[in-house]
Every structure is written in C-alpha cells, then in structure tokens.
C-alpha cells in the first residue's frame, strides 16, 4: 500500500495492518444491533412453517379448516393456494436454485422436514400453536436414506469443479512404490447452526418489495427472489445490516420465499423465523462423506502415486456435490495423480456449501493419510510435507501466485516445539491422560468475483462507502473501512461504510472466502479514483462527489495462476483411554493468507475456523435414523458444537504472503482455519494412543470401541 502524501490529509500511517475494534462493536455489545427478525413493524403478521413428517410420498390432504378457525389465524398457505414460482433460472453462483426454497409448488414430499405449509397469525404464539395443530395426511412411499461406500447407484458429478482429474498410470506407480497407504475415511453429516436462526420480514411498500433478511449476500437474494416471483429486480430491496452467522447456509431459503408469498397474499408485513429444529432440514448441511485415499511413495516419502476419491450424498431434487477430492488437486503432486467426486441421490434434504466445502472433509482424509504415510515411511510428518511441497498446480500445471506452505510448517514447528517430538505413539502420560501431538497442512482457494461499490466524498471531509457486502461476523465492515482509509489517505474515523443493502448495487456474497477480497477491490478502486479527483483540487458540492467502481474487467485481466492460502496446523491432545474422552490441550495454526487487513478480527476468524476443526474432529455429527429417514436429536443438545470448556488457549498467526501481481493482495481467511484442523487433532489422537481414527467425530464410544478392537495402551 502506498502512503503518498497529499495536501488534503498530510502524512499518515497505513490503516490496513493495524488492529481495529469493530466499527459496529458498540452496537453488538449493547444489544442495539438489530438483526433481521428484530425490526419492528406495525401490523406485523407471524408465519410459522409446517414441515413434513414423512421422508417420501405425497400430500393427500391438509386439514386447514380447524386451523383457520383458531384465534388470530389469518391464512394457511400450501401447495393448493400458494402463488406459483419460476425456478428456471441460474442463481448468482451459476447454479439452479435448490427447489427446497421454492415452497408449496406441488404435493410431493422428497424428504422428511420438507416445507408443506405456512400458517399465518397475529402473534407468534398463535402461529406456532396453529402450525402444530395442522393435520397433514400423506400417502407415504418407501424411502432410502442409507448412505455408504457400497452404493451401486453413486455417480460421478461435477458440481463446482470437474468430477474427475487424472494423469499418469496410477496402478503402475502404486505397484512400483516402496510404501503404500490405502485407507477409507468417513465424515458425518454436519450442520451450520449459525447462532441466529434464519429470519426474514417481507413487506410491500406500494409496488416495491422490501425484505429484511439474514443472508450472506443481498444481491444474491434479490436476484433469486426476483426470478422466483417473476418481478423486476429493481423493485426488490433486501437489507441485512447485521447477520448472526451464516457459514454457507444463508442464501435464499424457504423462509424468505414463504414470507414474500404471504406478504403478497395478505398485503401486510410478514415475518418468518425458522426454529432451531427446522434449520436441520431447511438450510442445507454438509453431506457425509466416504473417502478412499491411496498414496504410493518412495522409501524417503516422495509421493509417486496419489488417488483421492470421495462420495457424498445429495437429495433427489437437487444435485450438490461435496467436492472433497478437490484439496488433492492443490496440495500434493505425483507422477500418477487421480481425483474423483461422486454423489448418490437419497431421500434426504439438499446439502449445500458449509465452511470450506470440500476442503474441510477432504483435508481430514488426505492429511490423515499423509500422517499414515509418515508413519509407514518412518518420516517425520512435517518433513514429509516439506518433501512433497508442490511447485506447480498438480492438475492445472499453472504456477502458484504464492505458496509459502513450507514456511508455515517451519515457523509452526519452531513455535510449537515440534523438534522435541518423539514419533512413537502411546508413550506420554499425564495422570489419567495420554498425550500426543499431530500436524496437518491447509489450503484454500483465493478466489475473487466482480463487485460494485460507490465512494462519496462529502464537503466536510468525510466519506461514505456503499457496497452490498455482508458482515456475517467476519469483520468485513471494519476491514472495508481500513481499505477505504488507505485508498483515500484518510483516517478511518472519517469513513462511514454502509453495507447489507441491495440498493448499493451488485456485489459478491460473503462466501468462498471471496467476500472481503472482492469487495475490497471494488472499494479500493472507487476510493482511489475519488482521491485522484480530489487531488486535482476539485470543489466538493453539497451532494458530494461520488464514484462508482465495477471490478469485472480488472478481475478478468488477472494473470492465470493457482491462487490459494496455505497453512500448517499443530495440535496437542489428551486422551483418557479409560473413558474415551479426548481434549485438545493446545493448538497452533500458522497461515500464509495474503495481506492481513485487521489483525484483531483476522486472528478471531482464523481461530474460529480452527475451533470448527476441533468441533469436526471431536463433536459434530447429525445422526440419521433410517427407519424414519429423519435426524435424531436435531437440536443443540443432540448436535454438539464445542463449548468454552472444549477450547483451550489456541493460537493463530501468519507469515507475510505477498503477491506483487495482485492489485489488492488480500485473500479470504474465513475458511482456511478449518482446513486440516480436524486431521491435526486426529493425528494427535493417534500419537497419544497408537489407534488411528478414520471416522469422525472421535467420540468417547469410538475411542473405547477402537481401543477394545486394537488393544491400545491400558487404562
């Protein structure tokens, strides 16, 4: 970042790179920040979704009469009376919309927990009770929810990347290898569970549709709603000032669509909020995976054959592929290299993007297999990864714009005290606990997508930035303030960043770790032009000087390269072999993730990702009961995420990661933290106990059962 002196502002230090508390922090700690379901409206109607209780079949009848007679009940929407929707379009991310959000269009039920009706009433208590009283008759058909490696109906599927990549003669290289690791890894169904349930309030202001919503991208939601309801996107406004977490789940979902439908029918403001239980079937989730890894290596650990195959599940109405083998396309090269993603269609809800889709489960399998290879070769796990650091994209053949993976490992190993590690498992004890350490590599794509932003210079020396960004907890609002400050050579205090409003023009979503990078680019471009204009000594009129930027062209001009963040994860765990309890004692992640805009919020994000890794390794698992086709214990008592007590004082830090050819140099940091983290924990469990866990989460019952099978060290 340049720090040129201009007459307007004098010399100043850059804002990017300095720790700043969140600009909306005070609102958040005082409870003043209002989220989507909290905007007051006169005459508000409350909508309550009714979900199917069968996994497959069709609706025969809905007994709406007695419900309509209940106090306060205004209407019941279902497939017989709901407005018709258009679903034949491509969404912002290039995909067809998940039919799960196109509610009440037909009587078929493709999974348990499918929305079948919306009950509308004057109060939430009335809506809830009426919704729970609604009797729905189904014609039930047999369902199939059984996911497993042996599905003959699984097929190769592309999703966001090609299903298969292949080079070299895999079988020949495996046969020629000195050491072969061939193992199957499974990860469970996982749910986003943002703390704020999905909520939307829709109302018509004349012929303008306004939606207060909790989402990861106002542009995305406007586009989908306009398409679904066949209305001009210019007549739709979506606002999401504060968003209580998303993690991939907050796109267009049943709640916004149902709220808009109801607002259109009743011509009153309508709020629809999902219950925690409803979220388990309506907002998407991460599919379970079964992954098979085959690694063939020379005696010194150099990989000559790598195969990563992944199977995930999707619904019968939508094809979503959890692209777990994608991580191998970046991480390690080999003369013979093959990756493949497959899916099987089941009578289950549609899965979707969830924090590091593909990379999270994929890195568990690949980085566990690398640990197994290290053991098999008698190599140190860090040394093995240094030896196999790739020079070019293993699949693309393109150079890496930057790849400081080995430096992350060196720095991490130094700080973690890795050099003192005795590689033998099951040796260290602290009272009832066995101790072990593990490591794993991380990578995540540094993508970018076109966005627009405006920057206005006001006569009083202040600036307003407008961009339809979403701050779902990432600190984006604060980061954009710092980026604008440097581009304008102004103090951050003089900059007001406004986000979460589709009226600000099209912008990328908070997703794919692309939000802050994409938005910063647009904000920086507009701000630089404002500064240039001001430098000419232009007088600022009362309405200010406004510059709009669109980054589509600049992004198109980027040199082709493999662009990713990298990282090295280290974990120490304690395992009680008598009870099966596993506790993480310390953890360190060192990342090379581009230019760090705000160290305070960046560290928080990276740590949050690592905590998701702990969670994935030890806690999270949605259990599907195949008799009913539904989940058992679909709530926050049955579906465990970590508590304070599960998270020790973990550390995240970064090394410089410049990319001189990149105009912003910022990479996303929302997802890299989870990648490899679960593998580091699982590898540490192996080091503690000598037992390899290839099934997540590593629950106490699995530790006890595995120890009983494999004869681990005694309690």
């Amino acid at each position: 970042m340049t720090t040129a002196t201009t007459p307007r502002t004098g010399t100043r230090a850059p804002s990017v790179g300095t720790a700043r508390t969140r600009v909306e922090g005070r609102e958040k700690v005082t409870g003043a920040a209002r989220y989507a379901g909290e905007i007051p409206f006169a005459g508000l109607v409350h909508g309550w979704l009714v979900l199917s209780t069968v996994a497959h079949g069709r609706i025969r009848a809905l007994d709406t009469e007695p419900v309509l007679a209940m106090p306060g009940v205004l209407a019941v929407l279902d497939h017989r009376n709901a407005p018709r929707l258009n679903t034949d379009f491509a969404s912002l991310l290039g995909m067809r919309p998940d039919p799960t959000c196109a509610v009440f269009q037909h009587g078929r039920v493709p999974h348990r927990g499918w929305p079948v009706a919306l009950v509308l009433a004057e109060t939430s208590e009335q809506a809830r009770e009426a919704a729970e009283s609604l009797v729905v008759h189904y014609e039930e058909e047999p369902h199939d929810t059984d996911f497993g490696a042996d599905r003959p109906d699984a097929y190769r599927a592309d999703g966001i990347m090609p299903a298969v990549t292949e080079k070299g003669d895999l079988e020949a290289e495996l046969a020629a290898a000195d050491v072969v690791v061939d193992a199957e890894y499974t990860t469970p169904e996982e749910h986003h569970n943002p703390m704020e349930p999905h909520a939307a309030t829709a109302h018509w202001d004349g012929d303008r549709l306004e939606v207060f919503d909790s989402n990861q991208g106002a542009t995305w939601v406007v586009g989908d709603l306009a398409n679904l309801f066949s209305i001009d996107p210019a007549t739709v406004r979506v606002r999401s000032e504060h968003v209580g977490g998303g993690f991939g789940s907050k796109g267009v979902r049943a709640h916004q669509v149902a709220a808009v439908m109801a607002a259109s029918v009743l011509r009153r403001p309508v709020r629809v909020v999902m219950t925690r239980r409803q979220m388990f079937t309506l907002i998407g989730y991460r599919s379970p995976t079964v992954q098979r890894i085959r690694l063939g290596a020379d005696a010194d650990g150099r990989i000559r054959a790598l195969e990563h195959r992944s199977l995930s599940a999707t619904s019968t109405v939508f094809e979503f592929v959890e692209p777990s083998s994608g991580v191998a396309r970046v991480m390690y090269d080999a003369d013979a290299h093959r990756t493949e993603n497959r899916v099987v269609r089941l009578d289950v809800p549609s899965p979707t993007f969830m924090r590091a889709p593909g990379e999270a489960p994929g890195s568990f399998a690949l980085e566990s297999a690398m640990d197994e290879l290290a053991v098999a070769c008698g190599q140190d796990p860090v040394a093995l990864r240094l030896r196999n650091d790739a020079e070019r994209g293993p699949v693309s053949g393109l150079p890496f714009a930057s790849r400081r993976l080995s430096d992350c490992f060196r720095e991490g190993a130094r700080r973690f005290g890795w050099a003192d590690r005795d590689p033998r498992p099951g040796l260290r004890r602290d009272g009832r606990w066995l101790l072990g350490t593990g490591t794993a590599a991380a990578s995540f794509p540094a993508g970018v997508a076109p966005s627009t932003a405006t920057v206005t210079a006001h006569p009083d020396g202040r600036f307003t930035v407008r961009i339809a960004a979403a701050d779902i907890g990432t600190g984006a609002r604060t980061a954009l303030t710092l980026v604008a400050a440097d581009a304008l050579h102004a103090d951050p205090e003089r900059i007001h960043v406004r986000i979460g409003d589709s009226d600000f023009g099209p912008a990328m979503i908070a997703g794919g770790s692309m939000g802050t990078r994409s938005w910063s680019w647009a904000v920086q471009t507009a701000a630089q032009e404002v500064r240039e204009r001001l430098a000419l000594g232009t007088d600022i009129p009362a309405e200010g000087i406004t510059v709009r930027a669109n980054t589509a062209e600049a992004i198109g001009a980027l040199t082709p390269a493999e662009r990713h963040s990298f990282g090295a994860q280290f974990a120490e765990v304690a395992v009680d072999p008598g009870t099966g309890e596993v506790r993480v004692r310390r953890m360190l992640g060192i990342f090379a993730a581009g230019r760090i805009v705000n160290p305070l919020t960046a560290r928080n994000q990276l740590l949050g990702g690592m905590i998701w890794g702990i969670s994935m390794a030890l806690h999270e698992e949605a259990v599907r009961d195949h008799a009913s086709g539904g989940l058992v214990g679909a709530d926050l008592a049955g579906y465990h995420v970590p508590t304070h007590a599960d998270v020790p004082r973990i550390e995240a830090d970064w090394i410089d990661d410049p990319d001189p050819n990149d105009p912003v140099g910022i990479k996303g940091i929302g997802e890299i933290g989870i990648v490899g983290a679960a593998a580091a924990v699982a590898n540490a469990v192996w080091h503690a106990t000598g037992v390899r866990h290839r099934t997540l989460p590593i629950r106490p019952d699995r530790v006890l059962s595995a120890a009983a099978r494999e004869g681990a060290p005694d309690a």
């Binding site: 508390t21 969140r22 909306e24 922090g25 005070r26 609102e27 958040k28 700690v29 005082t30 409870g31 003043a32 920040a33 209002r34 989220y35 379901g37 909290e38 007051p40 109060t123 939430s124 208590e125 009770e129 569970n193 943002p194 703390m195 704020e196 349930p197 504060h242 968003v243 209580g244 977490g245 993690f247 909020v273 219950t275 925690r276 779902i472 907890g473 990432t474 600190g475 305070l600 919020t601 560290r603 928080n604 994000q605 740590l607 949050g608 990702g609 690592m610 905590i611 998701w612 709530d635 926050l636 008592a637 995420v641 970590p642 508590t643 304070h644 007590a645 998270v647 004082r649 973990i650």
Partner: protein
C-alpha cells in the same frame, strides 16, 4: 384481569416497570423481543441449549426462553440493554469490545449477561465443576481461564470467538467495577 389463557402482568426490567397483557404461553424472551422491542436478548435455540437469551433475574443469570413471562412478575429483570451505566459501558461490555470477544454478535448479549453473572457467582465463592477442592474451607478458587471456560460453557458461540471471550472475562474480572455492584449476601450461599 386474568383469563384462562392470558394475564396482565407488570414486569420490572432494567429499573423500569412495564405493564402488559401476556399470553400465558409467552416466554420472557418473546415478551422482551416481540412485545417490548428489547431485542438485545437473542433467540438462538428457544430450548435452553445455547444461552443466547441469557438475562439476569434477581441478579442471577437465567435463560429467558424457558422462563414464562407471567412467572417473572415481581422479579428484577436485567437485560443487555440495562447493564451499561448510561453511556459508560459495563466493564464486561468494554472488554468484549476491546478484545474482539465476538464475531457475528448474536450470542454476545447472552455471553455478556452470563459473564456478569459468573463474576458475581465467583465473587460469592461458588465452586464450579472444575474446582479442584470444593470444600468451603478451601476458599474460593482463583478465576483461572479453565474456571472461566467451565462457567461460561452455557453460552455457545458458533463463530468460535471463545479465546477472546475468555480473555475479555478475565480482563473484566480485574476491574473492581465489574463485581463491585453485586453485594455478596451470606443468605445467597447458605
């Protein structure tokens, strides 16, 4: 003024009195959010499983989603909107802000109210599940990070801001203003 399904109640919230009819089914959480526009108290699960709706009831942290509003009549309710001293943030709020003890902010009011309750409970010498020696003779345990983590475990943070939250609670604990307001009464413990 009571019918078989609703009553008029007077709720004491943040030092003010609010008189309103409530459906008996209405939880304190919904009364705050939907009737009194005190939306700082958050609904995360509505099942007592996340802590986002934590408020102080007679100075004790409780989850407002499992507290019926009608049953809260006569009790002193403090929500996130009532913990600051005018424009001056409560030390716990200030520490959360300074140390970035949150991300999305949705669990934050509950974390803060819970932390205020924790500081009082600790000041009273109450032990926790990780207190080594719980005999009264052993005296109050030091408020270590481990003690803070266990005591704060009823507040889930899905963003994973736990490290900074624990730091923030520890920082606030060192501020006499954080615990000074709470009077420790023998009766509360004995």
């Amino acid at each position: 003024m009571a019918t078989s399904t609703s009553s008029v109640v007077t709720l004491h919230i943040n030092g003010e009195k609010f008189t309103l009819p409530v459906d008996h089914r209405t939880t304190l959480l919904d009364a705050l959010r939907e009737r009194l526009t005190l939306t700082g108290t958050k609904k995360g699960c509505d099942q007592g499983q996340c802590g986002a709706c934590t408020v102080l009831l007679d100075g004790r942290r409780t989850v407002s989603c499992l507290q019926l509003a009608v049953a809260a009549e006569g009790r002193e309710i403090t929500t996130i909107e009532g913990v600051a001293d005018g424009d001056r943030l409560h030390p716990v709020q200030q520490a959360f802000l300074d140390l970035d003890g949150f991300q999305c902010g949705y669990c934050t009011p509950g974390q803060i109210c819970s932390a205020i309750g924790v500081l009082r409970e600790h000041a009273e010498g109450r032990p926790s599940a990780v207190t080594d020696d719980i005999r009264p003779e052993a005296g109050p345990p030091p408020l270590t990070p481990e003690e803070i983590r266990e005591r704060m475990s009823g507040n889930l943070c899905r963003c994973g801001a736990y490290v900074a939250i624990v730091d923030a609670v520890a920082k606030a604990a060192a501020d006499p203003r954080a615990t000074g307001a709470a009077t420790v009464s023998e009766e509360d413990v004995a």
